[in-house]
Symmetry: C2
Subunit: 414 residues, 2 copies
């Protein structure tokens, strides 16, 4: 994989130019893209800024995020060739930092569950996950050092885990969703994919102008970690649990304090509310597409929007109240247990075989609904070459601590 | 003015067809628009639905709200002729209810403070206010029975008060801001303009599928009203205070219980934080326009975005914390005082003379930041024919109570 920090170090010391770094990316794309199929389009002649803290860093932009210089097709024929007027603020910010938004990456249609044709670079017979399929696959294949995705259920953490890269879903709205095609305004969250935790942390710190998110020069102290198994939904596969145990053991070796943490019943209720909020909002957010292009919607999405017509407004309001109380309750869980971060599986197991399904987001949905930062990192690989990840979760706004704990585990595993 | 409920009653009883109702609107536009200048464009041949609960209701859509069938120019040459792909969900919802999004209404550029050429229909020598200038003026001039606007500071309540119409800024995100050009994602709120409180309440109830927002058939009981003077900012003009006293006396005659309510110091601090949050987010939300079309930005907006480059991220984060605590504190104010709603001035006075300024939002900004529902209604008229309004404010999510109390005052004044 291409490490953002490594590329930047080579540029900073004059061993590589920004244009040369983009050239490396182009070579990698030429070599890997035919097999992986992670990209919708590549800018043939992008402006490569000569300087800036991300100069020379080519970025993949999920194709539901507006770009003024490249089409934005939402993974759907309804938007084929669509050219937004403006860059989304996250893209404008990357340009200002010197980065090169080089390619649009594949997305499931409107970031729902209908699959893309993208293949998992670790094993092309398996899905890369979704909905940010192309962003995860492009970073995993070594085609790009940084990519933007979005998560409404598990669309950053799950594909990152399936592809064996680091994925960060920051606190809700730490990165603005302006100019990002909406599925659910209470849930949609912009996130990042990178080769390692330090790469992702560096990019997030620059994008949000919060230097504290970057890994501190001094050791932040060993974290207190709560191990959570999310018993409110079906258990993960044994290999996923083994990866969680391996990550926990590594953390302990590095000095972390571990304890098991059971989430009380209200979190199961909140988990169950996620689809109500998501689908109710989606049927409003995509009302124009549903009214005018229903036949062009893919089957999973069309069925979900049809079902969503039946969600009563009081059920939506009740679900929002449950989520609101669970968000407050989660603060108490952190406060009363004394843990700094939660450690749990990133997905039910490795990437499923075939491309018919993008996998299951059940270990991600609660955390998206809570709006808390999640960082997934690769821990193990199955016999079939498929990665297994764990995710580190912190309090709302405590993104720096989630990144620091993920880095500690990453180092301990190395 | 054209009452939505009156038009609907005439359609329901067969005295008017939906097409006939739209025809009345066209006649009114032909008669009044040359003087007022509230409209950017009018659909020459719209689809008029034969039925639906808002069939025959022509709606004005502020020109920062996406429409698939009409251009959306954001009040700026940068977006001249721009055609969004999709209707914003609020527009799609109106169409589904049978309404006819007939016209785009003028907006200050990107909904900031640089004025439009729109005139106040009550006195063409005065501003209609902003930023939702055209929506307020079109309803006031009797050109449209319903119009959509947005408020980030005071852009619904202030122009409604200046033009002598009812304006509703609902609870934050009761109406989705998807497909609405973003200025500040924490503040932007979609609102409505109509001839009377019952007209606005009926439209809001249908748009949000919350029948409880419509005025109850039975008397909800006389409200307990807290009179608030917002002493954290400069005092309003004497005629604004006289209108507040007149509205309070009318409420008391109708059985309401009144008490003076002083807001403690944290609300002054929150008030002072509004510009930090708004302008910091605007400089991100409009980053593409600032980077690529700075010279085409109007002077107030350009200056604000230039200043906003200097707002440090920690100052923004601190402002958000102050706002968060004030939102909780406002719940306590309602709870401890026992008041159902707050009554305060809608603006510092009548619409200023000339078109150089859209007026001052200082009596609106705190409530936008709190996310609470605000309803303004006309109370009095100055010797120059300029309306004076008061606003009724309720707890977050208690939009129905704000509307019911506003209706009680409206009736008592009649």
């Amino acid at each position: 994989m291409l490490s953002l920090l490594d590329l930047r170090a080579r540029i900073a010391t004059g061993r590589l130019t920004p244009a040369g770094a983009v050239g490396l990316v182009r070579e990698a794309i030429a070599a890997r893209e035919p097999e992986v199929g992670a990209l919708v389009c590549v800018d043939p002649a992008p402006h490569v800024a000569p300087d800036g803290p991300l100069a020379g860093i080519a970025v993949g932009v999920k194709d539901i995020i507006d770009t003024a210089d490249l089409p934005t097709a939402m993974g759907s024929a309804i938007y084929a060739g669509w050219r937004p007027r403006a860059d989304a603020p996250v893209v404008a910010r990357l340009r200002r930092l010197g980065a090169v938004p080089l390619a649009k990456t594949t997305t499931t249609p409107f970031a729902f569950m209908d699959p893309t044709a993208t293949r998992n670079p670790r094993n092309p017979g398996h899905t890369p996950g979704g909905s940010s399929a192309g962003s995860a696959a492009a970073v995993a294949a070594g085609m790009l050092p940084l990519a933007l995705g979005t998560q409404t259920g598990g669309s950053v953490i799950r594909p990152a885990a399936f592809c064996g890269v680091v994925g960060v879903k920051p606190s809700f709205r730490l990165l603005p969703t302006v100019g990002v095609k909406c599925f659910s305004w209470a849930l949609d969250t912009v996130g990042l994919f990178a080769a390692g935790v330090a790469d992702a942390a560096h990019a997030l710190a620059l994008m949000t102008d919060r230097p504290g998110l970057d890994l501190p020069a001094t050791d932040p102290g060993a974290p207190r970690i709560g191990i959570v198994t999310q018993d409110f939904c079906a258990a993960p596969a044994p290999e996923a649990l083994a990866a969680l145990a391996r990550a926990a053991a590594a953390a302990e070796r590095a000095g972390a304090t571990l304890r098991d943490l059971a989430l009380p019943a209200p979190f199961g209720e909140a988990f169950a509310c996620h689809p109500t909020i998501q689908d109710f909002e989606a049927h409003h957010a995509l009302a124009w597409e549903y009214a005018h292009h229903r036949e062009a919607l893919p089957p999973h999405l069309r069925a979900a929007l049809e079902r969503a017509q039946g969600i009563e407004t009081p059920a939506y309001d009740a679900a929002r109240r449950v989520a609101h109380h669970a968000r407050r309750g989660l603060k108490d869980v952190f406060g009363e247990s004394g843990v700094d971060v939660i450690l749990t599986v990133s997905a039910p197991g490795p990437a499923p075989a075939g491309l018919a399904s993008t996998g299951d987001s059940r270990f991600n949905r609660l955390w998206t609904l809570m709006g808390v930062p999640c960082v997934t990192l690769p821990v193990d690989v199955t016999a079939a070459g498929l990665p297994l990840g764990v995710q580190v979760i912190a309090r709302f706004g405590d993104d720096g601590r989630a990144l620091a704990a993920a880095r500690l585990i990453e180092r301990a595993l190395a």
